[in-house]
């Protein structure tokens, strides 16, 4: 078995080059979107449901943070500096990088069988019993054994599929809904979510889930051996135990 695994690895890297490049492009643009998104958010840390909402409206949710606008009642005695100009510029620029990278990745994923081979779980793995066993096995946060590192387990597969095919499309959709020009072409894309403010609120919550994913993802990489795993995502090669990545 050992020789076969080694041979396969010699032919096919742990992560294909395109997966590695798109992974880091998405990482970079996601971090830019996160920082600028927070900056834009603090100019109005209030959320509403429906089409409209402003400081004269009752908020659906008010974040207990200071704001970069004096017009927003926050209870804090100070106003943070306005960072919206460059934040909005960079937010949309990073969004372009993320979306274009995502399109290349998805095209590759479908055409080259990346999704089929690496991400779609086998039907047998999806029985409630198997899933429950997998979750229990993960709870103690144990380092994975050597034979687990060659491919993704079912929980990883489901999580990545959720992020790629649900959370990312949702965050793009709700983000686009806030563009008045986009909304003029596809008003239904806004109305179906309840309106522009609903879209903004959903954009925030989907982003929270993406940030949650980022934390858990980095924690798992750390538990599985940070240098080795990050090395594999850079070089494509998974170093053997004892070998320095």
């Amino acid at each position: 078995m050992g020789t076969i695994t080694q041979m396969t690895e010699a032919v096919r890297p742990r992560h294909a080059a395109l997966v590695r490049v798109t992974h880091w492009l998405i990482t970079l643009s996601f971090l830019a979107l996160l920082v600028t998104g927070v900056e834009i958010l603090i100019s109005h840390p209030r959320f509403y449901w429906g089409e409209t909402g402003n400081v004269n409206t009752r908020a659906f949710l008010t974040l207990p943070i200071p704001s970069s606008r004096g017009t927003v009642p926050t209870g804090y005695g100070y106003v943070l500096p306005d960072q919206n100009g460059w934040s909005r510029y960079l937010h949309f620029e990073a969004a372009w990088v993320a979306v274009l990278t995502g399109l290349i990745y998805a095209t590759f994923g479908f055409l080259q069988g990346h999704f089929r081979r690496n991400l779609i779980p086998a039907a047998s793995e999806l029985s409630p019993k198997r899933l429950a066993a997998d979750i229990l096995r993960h709870l103690p946060f144990r380092r994975p054994s050597e034979d687990e590192t060659g491919s993704y387990n079912v929980l990883q597969r489901l999580t990545y599929l959720l992020v790629i095919f649900v959370l990312f499309p949702l965050v793009i959709w709700t983000g686009l809904d806030m563009s008045p020009a986009f909304a003029s072409v596809f008003p239904g894309a806004v109305t179906v979510l309840g309106g522009r403010q609903s879209a903004r609120t959903l954009h925030f919550f989907v982003s929270i889930f993406l940030v949650l994913f980022l934390f858990v993802h980095v924690l798992m990489v750390y538990l599985a051996g940070f240098r080795k795993r990050v090395g594999a995502m850079i070089t494509g090669r998974l170093a053997k135990t004892g070998e320095r990545a």
């Binding site: 089409e51 949309f92 806030m178």
Partner: protein, 252 residues
């Protein structure tokens, strides 16, 4: 030098030349079709250009959604307005009889209109949403003169590409391209929710561009200048917004 590396060098050189020429042609075409925003040369110009070009290609003639009368916000928010000063107060006390809208630049017949003249022009009414770049929004019924009507009256020259608009507040000046200027929903707004446009909301005259965010909807409009070159205005970035770090185009 071996044959292979020489061949490689020639191929790479040809490809690079073709690529550069292709980019050059693409840039020329984009410029010709008005897909390059005036702040394209700034730090985030690449993303800005992609957004503006994409929205001009796919949303040049789209109409902003119009809402039902029942959806008009009962609690619109005017946002902060810097003090308008003694001169504004004087004009206001005179019932804005002295308010003028000058139209100049690339027009056949430069003109200056009083509010009464503007009010006598054909009116258009729309119930649309205005959203601030900060995230908040409200829906109101806006009524006013389509900007296109005024541009027709003064005989806008075919070569004009932008309308620069200036406010009573000198720090607020902006511009829109002709796609927005001639758009049927772009108004010189005189009224809001069935009454005269309240001063905090931009009265007596506000430019209403419903497919762009609030800050392009400049209040207290006093002058329109048609031009084919935004380089001549301010720092050449198209409006006061990029000079303060904000994007010129606010369709997103």
């Amino acid at each position: 030098m071996s044959m292979i590396s020489r061949r490689k060098l020639i191929t790479t050189g040809l490809l690079a030349t073709a690529g550069a020429t292709g980019l050059g042609v693409a840039a020329k075409l984009a410029q010709h079709y008005g897909l390059i925003p005036p702040d394209a040369g700034t730090l985030y110009g690449a993303g800005e250009t992609l957004t503006y070009a994409a929205q001009r290609l796919f949303a040049r003639h789209s109409l902003a959604q119009e809402f039902a009368r029942s959806q008009i916000s009962k609690d619109p928010f005017a946002n902060e307005v810097d003090p308008l000063g003694a001169e504004f107060q004087r004009i206001q006390q005179g019932g804005f009889a002295d308010w003028r809208l000058a139209v100049d630049g690339m027009v056949a017949r430069p003109a200056s209109f009083s509010l009464a003249e503007l009010q006598s022009f054909p009116r258009s009414t729309q119930i649309t949403l205005i959203a601030c770049e900060e995230g908040w929004s409200y829906i109101a019924e806006w009524s006013g003169v389509p900007l296109g009507h005024v541009l027709n009256l003064v005989g806008a020259l075919p070569a004009a590409r932008y309308v620069v608009y200036r406010s009573f507040q000198p720090d607020w000046w902006d511009s829109i391209d002709m796609a927005d200027a001639l758009h049927p929903q772009t108004l010189l707004a005189l009224g809001m929710n069935g009454a005269e446009l309240p001063i905090p909301f931009g009265g007596p005259l506000r430019l209403r561009v419903p497919r762009q965010l609030g800050y392009k909807n400049v209040k207290y409009i006093t002058r329109l200048t048609l031009t084919d070159n935004l380089k001549r205005f301010g720092k050449g970035l198209g409006s006061a917004a990029p000079e303060g770090g904000y994007a010129w185009y606010a369709g997103i």
